[in-house]
Amino acid sequence: GIQVEQSPPDLILQEGANSTLRCNFSDSVNNLQWFHQNPWGQLINLFYIPSGTKQNGRLSATTVATERYSLLYISSSQTTDSGVYFCAVDLPGGSGNTGKLIFGQGTTLQVKP
């Protein structure tokens, strides 16, 4: 089956620093989503980005589907950015997307004041 690998597994930043999180996937995918999981377990949607580049405030994401990777950029990090960041891919099915998200293992980010 498809493999989704995220790097780095852990990241510690000083408040105000920038960071790049990477998601590699081993096969063609139709969709890709980035999530932030807060300490209470809630998965918060960051980006729905099957290809191209999107920006939302201090966060931006780029997916290069032909090269099977996606990047999440966090600029001017804040302590509230701490948590686990997941990428998840949706496999192509017979009639489009399957709706079965395959998650990576996550990147745990700690932002220190």
Binding site: G41, Y48, T98, G99
Partner: protein, 112 residues
């Protein structure tokens, strides 16, 4: 607008018991998916339902079952609970099958 809601928030059960978890999707969403997340790992896909029909099933034993109701809400049932079933159970809804998924706050199940 209300997001995805799940109940209960927390649950403690004994080995061998049965449990039912509930999920209400975002209004207008027709697809509901269930995921299991054990500590330190990413969520694992269990089931997807669309228009009240099962559209996908992950690699979980037959002790796990689910259904979707005419109002698109859903229940996940787990029979004969094992210690290894202790996890955060997440429900996600999407407008249609395969569209962007939005997750509820989860139900944290502890099996003792």
């Amino acid at each position: 607008d209300a997001g995805v809601t799940q109940s209960p928030t927390h649950l403690i059960k004994t080995r061998g018991q049965q449990v039912t978890l509930r999920c209400s999707p975002i209004s207008g969403h027709k697809s509901v998916s269930w995921y299991q997340q054990v500590l330190g790992q990413g969520p694992q896909f269990i089931f997807q339902y669309y228009e009240k029909e099962e559209r996908g099933r992950g690699n979980f034993p037959d002790r796990f079952s689910a259904r979707q109701f005419p109002n698109y809400s859903s229940e996940l049932n787990v029979n004969a609970l094992l210690l290894g079933d202790s996890a955060l159970y997440l429900c996600a809804s999407s407008l249609e099958a395969g569209y962007e998924q939005y997750f509820g706050p989860g139900t944290r199940l502890t099996v003792t």
